[in-house]
Symmetry: C2
Subunit: 214 residues, 2 copies
């Protein structure tokens, strides 16, 4: 049987996995809100970010408590430090999904996304979801191998990001400056979301191996 201390450590992992689920749902809904100019969905992403923040606060409180009371060492110490870092990244991913949703809300009832880049944004959204799903599985299973895979998906995100710039800088871009600005920011939000998902996975590698790779 696990003692109360180890149950608290297990609960930390569960909460991080729950955060990955919430920020995955957030980026998924934000992408749809953006593509379908769905105001209600955009609002739901914005208001439900409070849930992500609340879990992160619980994680922080648990960690500060644990460190003050239990003085964890070795693997347990790595877990609490890593959890703090992962939580910070996941909280930021929630913020980035909110930023995407806010662009959708700002342009409603229009869509911020012209027809010719819809498929690129859709793909960016899908890669973002894949990344955070894998990050979540890595955290849950402490799986280093699948954590390592994330770097490749991140390369795919970078390629899409470049394609986005190519489109808005092409001679036949007919939508002017405002949509170009929206798309520049949106592209940046997806790219940063992906970077943070990779960092979560990198933290799993550190947690399991004790080796910091980034």
């Amino acid at each position: 049987m696990r003692d109360a201390y180890h149950e608290e450590l297990d609960a930390l992992t569960d909460k991080l996995v729950e955060m990955t689920r919430l920020v995955r749902s957030a980026i998924s809904r934000a992408t749809i809100a953006l593509l379908d100019a769905d105001l209600q969905l955009a609002e739901s992403v914005i208001s439900r970010d409070a849930e992500v923040n609340a879990i992160f606060e619980e994680i922080e409180t648990t960690i500060f408590d644990l460190m003050a009371r239990q003085q964890p060492v070795a693997m347990d110490l790595r877990l609490v430090i890593t959890a703090l870092r992962m939580g910070t990244d996941l909280e930021r991913m929630g913020d980035l999904a909110v930023h995407v949703a806010k662009v959708a809300r700002l342009r409603h009832p229009d869509s911020a996304i012209p027809a010719e880049i819809r498929s690129t944004i859709l793909e960016m959204g899908q890669i973002a979801e894949n990344l955070v799903t894998k990050a979540g599985s890595s955290v849950a299973a402490r799986d280093v191998d699948s954590a390592m895979e994330l770097e490749q998906d991140d390369d795919a995100m970078d390629r899409l990001h470049r394609r986005l710039f190519k489109t808005i800088l092409a001679k036949d871009w007919s939508h002017g400056v405002e949509p170009a600005i929206d798309i520049t920011l949106i592209g940046r939000y997806y790219e940063r979301y992906a970077d943070h998902a990779v960092r979560v996975a990198t933290s799993v590698v550190y947690l399991v191996t004790g080796t910091r790779t980034a």
Copy 2:
């Protein structure tokens, strides 16, 4: 006399202050590189970011060592956790200065900044420098009051950021899409730089008072 353990803790603070100096110099040089289309200066920002990263690695190594060997408690524990968070923010500020410098490099020998927004960018650079200078003093002196002041400077940054968008979205904007994209990204980099500086100051408040405000 301080023992070796407390000397290590003091050295942590010194290294964080050194990081604030380096990332202040980086954003200062990046701003000039951008405004003067100074390639050499841009290159120096990009290459010297390695110094920031190296100090952060030293900080991380010290912290992981300290935690494993000494099991710090109470105030010392707060210091090491806070140092890790501050280091993460400062390292990111270095990256953001590099992003600004890379735009300068990309557009060289042209300037990425049209005449009518030079003064806004200059001001954003100055506020960024002020913020990180104050953050550095707060860290060095563990000064909560001056840490609190940073929020106001950050408001000034947000106002400048909005002014930037207003200019590139105005009817008389004559520079087309590419400079608008550059400026959108540059504006975002300064804004994020400022956010991280505020987070460093917020961490000082937590360090001294034990109260987390963000």
